[in-house]
Symmetry: C2
Subunit: 247 residues, 2 copies
């Protein structure tokens, strides 16, 4: 059944996952991409639960998502995923999203570090023979996740990290950063344009109760955002959203 060289996981867009265009939101797509990553990591023996038993865990460092078409409400789609690259301190996991007719509707690439939970230091992935076996030599389906330069710009939101923002570690959920950013944009941007590429860099965790500020500036190729942890102003994450002018 699977003529693809990587495993694929199945999803369906639920009513609670669409926005006012009746298509899946970018957070939904991002959530499902991270879900597929988790499922596949479990399959190859490197899931978070397995790692945590050994006092290790995965930390997401960068992510790039390219969307050609957002799936519609109730539409079924699959996410194929594989380990695409392993360097000393970082590994790449790639993703291809297909619709029911096996047309590619989105693709993504993510960079992860495996860290020791006590020291918080990254582990050398090249030394891990079992993990190296998981490598599939398929080309990366998108341009590599960008390293995003400092964002200046203006204050777009000032908020507290709330109960609904955090996971069991009291850390902000990955997709919440994107939600905070998108929520500051005018509605026309979200209904007249369609996101074609998202790059995000995760630099510093934020936790329940902390105050964060979202900064925005218009860049040459899209909207640029930075979330800063207050009162120090430490950069927590930076992102660039690129849009198609007409949907």
């Amino acid at each position: 059944m699977n003529e693809f060289p990587y495993p694929r996981y199945s999803y369906q867009v639920q009513p609670r996952e669409v926005d006012l265009t009746k298509k899946a939101t970018i957070f939904t797509l991002g959530d499902c991409i991270l879900h597929a990553a988790g499922e596949d990591a479990d399959q190859i023996g490197f899931g978070v639960r397995e790692l945590q038993r050994k006092n290790m865990t995965w930390v997401l460092s960068r992510m790039a998502v390219e969307v050609y078409r957002f799936p519609e409400e109730y539409e079924r789609y699959t996410i194929g995923t594989w380990v695409g690259e392993i360097s000393r301190l970082m590994t790449t996991r790639n993703f291809v999203v297909h619709d029911a007719d096996d047309r590619r509707i989105a693709a993504a690439s993510t960079c992860w570090a495996m860290i020791d939970m006590q020291s918080r230091l990254p582990l050398d992935l090249r030394e891990n023979v079992d993990y190296n076996r998981a490598l599939i030599s398929e080309p990366c389906p998108v341009g590599k996740p960008l390293k995003i330069a400092r964002v200046d710009g203006q204050l777009a939101d000032d908020r507290r990290v709330r109960y609904s923002d955090v996971d069991f570690n009291q850390h902000t959920n990955t997709m919440k950063y994107i939600q905070w950013m998108i929520d500051t944009l005018p509605l026309e941007r979200l209904t007249e344009g369609q996101m074609k590429r998202l790059d995000i860099n995760f630099i510093h965790e934020t936790r329940y109760g902390q105050q964060v500020q979202v900064y925005y500036e218009e860049g040459e190729c899209g909207d640029r955002f930075e979330v800063r942890l207050m009162p120090e102003g430490t950069t927590a994450c930076k992102a660039v959203f690129q849009w198609n002018k007409n949907r």
Copy 2:
């Protein structure tokens, strides 16, 4: 396989659905309950898509959820659901949540009106022969959803309805009201206690861009909330959360 007199739908708690206690949040459980309602309504020929073709839709008026145990991360559970009562302007849909060992971990009851999308007036459900066939005579598994009296109390949050809050109609998603309320509570309430019952009444829709205020007061049997649409102060929704003192 199904010795239950009603259909059951399967779910699994995903990492993005847990809170800092590593158990499913009440919004996740509520979302899945509404998802099961949608699936079952589709099955009996009264799903939203089917109704909308006839210019009708469902409107949720009240909901009560009782939780005996919140499912843990990765735990699988089922939601059984059936139409329990049909009166002139309102129908009741009931829910029972079972864990993998068929132990009841939660239950719920919801009241819905079927409205004409043009006039916004409710339709007489007793006249609908096909809908009456869907009735299953099983007792309601929880005390009926309460009619909640006016909430006075103090201002707990003042916010704009954002992109991530709304569905394709630009209306606030049902579970977002509960999220707004819960996000105003101190963390200890959410980690030291466990919600045992939630009652919520939906009175007036809110839309993208509108300003809303959340009011809170401590009641005799729990936390009482009201969301008001500003600047008029129209009541949008009211809720009561009851807690177990020790988890």
